[in-house]
Symmetry: C2
Subunit: 341 residues, 2 copies
DNA sequence: CCGTGATTTGCAAACGTATGCAATTTCTGC
DNA sequence: GCAGAAATTGCATACGTTTGCAAATCACGG
């Protein structure tokens, strides 16, 4: 009933020592049936629950995972966040959120704040990491997982989709559809997702003797993507692309809107558009966007598995670099090989 | 450099007592310039940062705010979450996320888990609260803010938009547009947002001698909203509504897609659609949805203000019930009064 | 009924910080 | 240079838990 019930009060009421109470609430500790029952009863009556923070202090494990995320405007992230939080919750962990803007200066402060909370692990979504920050976490013994970014830092686990393969698939699909002038609208150039998607895309084009017809940068931002679309498509039909790969869905929606509603260009009639992520709105009929699926479930699963591995058995855990393959989801925003003729 | 640097080590290196170190990192404590400098220098060299958890234990303030959220699929919530986290971060607090599914049984467990973390406050978004859970928080001395839900529980602060007024605005706008058969697609009926929006809407209709032409329930869910749209509109033109108010944007997109792409009904040519929330996709040209704006910035501002009030001055803080008015944003999904004729 | 080993229990020392109190130092005005 | 006030400092305790260790209890076969 009272504001703060401690194990000491429970112990007094149950007529046992405080240690006994602690052991009852510590799985795998040595307690007899009888005392366990007495303690549980007393705890129930007083409304006692162990103080996680006090437990964290002495055990060194806070059961908190820090999550750094740059922006939730790209709807891939809310989805991932929801799944991640649920998966961790099921294992008794919880997510402490830290917002970081793109610029890296901020990230240092944010990482310091995270470590202040004695988190058991850190997930960094959509943000790149300087190697000295990574090192600081290493030395603090806190495992770090890069989510949706890969990076060549010694000993850092990263989980992403196979962006190179995804980019290839898009190029092959568009070429198979008979497109001859294929454009690319890039994301923020500091991002590995952007880099890898483009690399796979252009490599596949080259393999078939083609090259990118035109390229603009949209920085993963709606407004910039619109400008990029105007710059790329506000020209006569024979001097603009007949297909465009946009580095993520979030920009692809903006590009489609510019094509259809500003420039009066039919999608997919005159221009095919392909995105990346397969966020929920991609399936909405108004866009019906052909796109490469990022398998959020699998990515989250790998992330959680990596974290648990490092937390539970730090001595044997090895850093992983996982790239999960995702299928190209054929919808209606791009002419497909069968309607090619 | 080492894994864990404590105030004791800093004290040793700076040649002062541990208390002195503590005071240097406690704003408003009594320390001389000289020792402050010595301590800061030593702390810098050792990479010392105070342990938030240890601090929380003795001070009783964890600087953690628990956030309960049901689902992030409605894009109003990611936006609110981002703003909330940023606002709290600026004040030295951080957000610990807890996912709760709709059913209330789960919520009890979740609330218990939250309290285990000794949070300084709790924000409950989009979930209703049983009064005994509320009472438990009260007795634990943890302030609770209901975000986007209002509820008549003694002493609980709630922040929402003025859903009744918003519902009225929609009705008045549609009637002014010359619509004669106005339908309503409801959200989940357990939600106060749903109840209030519908109440304002039907009240305004009644005031003008009209009533709801037809009503379906979409439960704030995409799939259900689609079914509702089919049930309401798959009929001859004179037996279906000429306008529909959908209880939130997330459902409104689904409804528009069914109308346009399944039933071949022009929006706004044959049917006007109005939503609620003004989430980002509402402004995307493909939907261009006329909708009532929820002013997320103001709502978050009030939420943070209420929390800080209760945390900093619990003795004078009074529970508030705030309803923030939001404008009807006129876009292209509904015929407006001027094109009435 | 006793001895032995296994199980259960309590004691006490941590974990890293904040803070009341008393002792010490520094400052102020004369 | 000195008394007194003000500021600073260190000591020691507390926060609520876990956990190693030793004491106590238990089960059980002889």
């Amino acid at each position: 009933m009272a504001g703060k019930v401690t194990s000491l009060q429970v112990a007094a009421r149950a007529g046992v020592s405080q240690s006994a109470v602690s052991r009852v609430f510590t799985p795998g500790a040595s307690v007899s049936q009888k005392t366990a029952e007495k303690v549980r009863k007393a705890a129930e009556e007083l409304g006692y629950r162990p103080n996680v923070l006090a437990r964290a202090m002495v055990s060194g494990k806070s059961r908190i995972i820090g999550l750094v995320v740059a922006y939730l405007e790209n709807y891939f992230y809310p989805e991932a966040l929801e799944k991640l939080s649920n998966a961790l919750q099921a294992r008794g962990y919880h997510v402490l959120i830290f917002m970081a803007s793109q610029n890296a200066g901020n990230l240092d402060d944010v990482m310091s704040e995270i470590l202040d909370y004695q988190v058991d692990g850190i997930v960094i979504a959509s943000v790149s990491l300087s190697s000295d920050v990574a090192e600081r976490c290493q030395s603090a013994g806190v495992p770090v997982v890069l989510f949706n970014r890969s990076q060549d830092i010694e000993g850092i686990t990263s989980i992403s989709s196979d962006n190179v393969a995804g980019g290839r698939k898009v190029a092959e699909f568009l070429m198979a559809g008979g497109h001859r002038r294929i454009g690319y609208i890039a994301g923020w150039e500091g991002a590995s997702t952007q880099r890898d998607r483009e690399a796979g895309f252009t490599a596949a084009l080259h393999d078939s003797g083609q090259q990118v017809f035109s390229r603009e940068v949209g920085d993963f931002d709606t407004a910039r993507a619109r400008e990029a679309a105007r710059a790329m498509f506000d020209k006569p039909a024979d001097r603009r692309p007949d297909a465009v790969f946009v580095a993520n869905d979030h920009m692809a929606f903006a590009v489609m809107d510019v094509l259809r509603f500003e420039l009066g260009i039919a999608v997919p009639g005159e221009v095919s558009v392909v995105g990346y992520d397969d966020v929920p709105p991609a399936a909405w009929p108004a866009y019906n966007l052909t796109t490469v699926r990022q398998r959020a479930n699998l990515m989250v699963g790998e992330t959680v598995a990596a974290l648990m591995d490092h937390i539970d058995t730090p001595q044997t855990a090895r850093p992983r670099r996982v790239a999960i393959d995702g299928p190209l989801i054929l919808r209606g925003s791009a002419r497909s090989p069968i309607d090619k003729g």
